[in-house]
Symmetry: C2
């Protein structure tokens, strides 16, 4: 274990910055100021900006799915699982002082400017989320607490798209409570 985890601090600063302004507006200077390190020193830990972003997506995915998994595997009701899942996104909006959105959501908007590896991992993040969501939806349908036509996978894509989109839309007129309202409405729609 390192005493001062500079590598981690760089990732922290980069993530904070990207979630607020996007990857193209994030610069090495921003990171160097936030971490208290020289610009050139970042290159010691991450050869290029592309690599830094790729590493960031990896860490973010890992952490996020760890949280998701603990929700999905819990003994909570399907409805509560969905609500908890939505809270993972909602928490970002109120985190810190400024409005952050999902890292992979904002990177999805800048997809065309990212490396193929990054694009792949973002795509995987999307798909994996849909998969976990589909599990919960299926569980709820089996228990008779959820009701909707079509396959659960389409429904999962719908819900995930909604959450990603809602972060961007809601952030535009500062209001976390609007986000939870949307999530509540969504759950009502599929409740039996």
């Amino acid at each position: 274990m390192r005493k001062t985890d500079t590598k981690g601090k760089i990732l922290d600063a980069a993530q904070d910055c990207i979630q607020r302004v996007g990857a193209n507006a994030m610069s090495y200077q921003d990171i160097s100021e936030a971490v208290g390190i020289q610009k050139a020193s970042i290159h010691y830990h991450f050869a290029t900006k592309e690599r830094l972003i790729e590493a960031l997506i990896d860490r973010y995915s890992e952490r996020f799915f760890s949280l998701v998994q603990s929700i999905v595997e819990s003994e909570l009701s399907p409805e509560t699982k969905l609500r908890r899942y939505g809270l993972l996104f909602e928490a970002m909006l109120s985190e810190g002082e400024r409005g952050k959105v999902c890292l992979c959501g904002i990177l999805g908007a800048e997809l065309a400017t990212l490396s193929p590896v990054a694009v792949d991992n973002i795509r995987r993040f999307f798909r994996e989320n849909e998969k976990r969501l589909a599990e919960v939806l299926d569980e709820g349908r089996r228990q008779g607490v959820f009701q909707f036509e079509g396959d659960s996978r389409s429904m999962a894509t719908l819900m995930f798209s909604l959450l990603e989109g809602a972060m961007l839309v809601v952030r535009a007129d500062e209001g976390t409570q609007r986000f939870s309202a949307i999530m509540r409405q969504m759950i009502k729609l599929i409740s039996a």
Copy 2:
């Protein structure tokens, strides 16, 4: 009327570029090459990049709401109106050769880097869309073809967020048909 509408061509090029890669990744060089004009000449038509983006949002909003209005005011069924509305977004994904998303959607992701005027107009774009959507939802509920709990405004925010989010998510794994599937699923959810 000008013979060669350079100002319009600049806006065309800028919009195409932003819808694909975002505002921060769009440069004056990109525009100059696309239009066939010198970089400096762009400044004759738009003093700064911020002004250019502001003008772009204005034109985009005007055009978009013109299309929306013709749908809302038509004699179509509420369900068809929603389907047509969704097609406005879907068309962008398949437009040109590359995947474009809603201009205001992608700018919403980069909101923190835009001018206050631009932010205001993007916010207005969002609200106005929700308003039009709410009208259609109300109409459908009065006619008994739509059914959902809560106020139509929350439902409208949900639908709009879904559409904006779905563009980003679907673009990540190239598939226009997935977008229409989401829209169909959404309409099913509120159909009586």
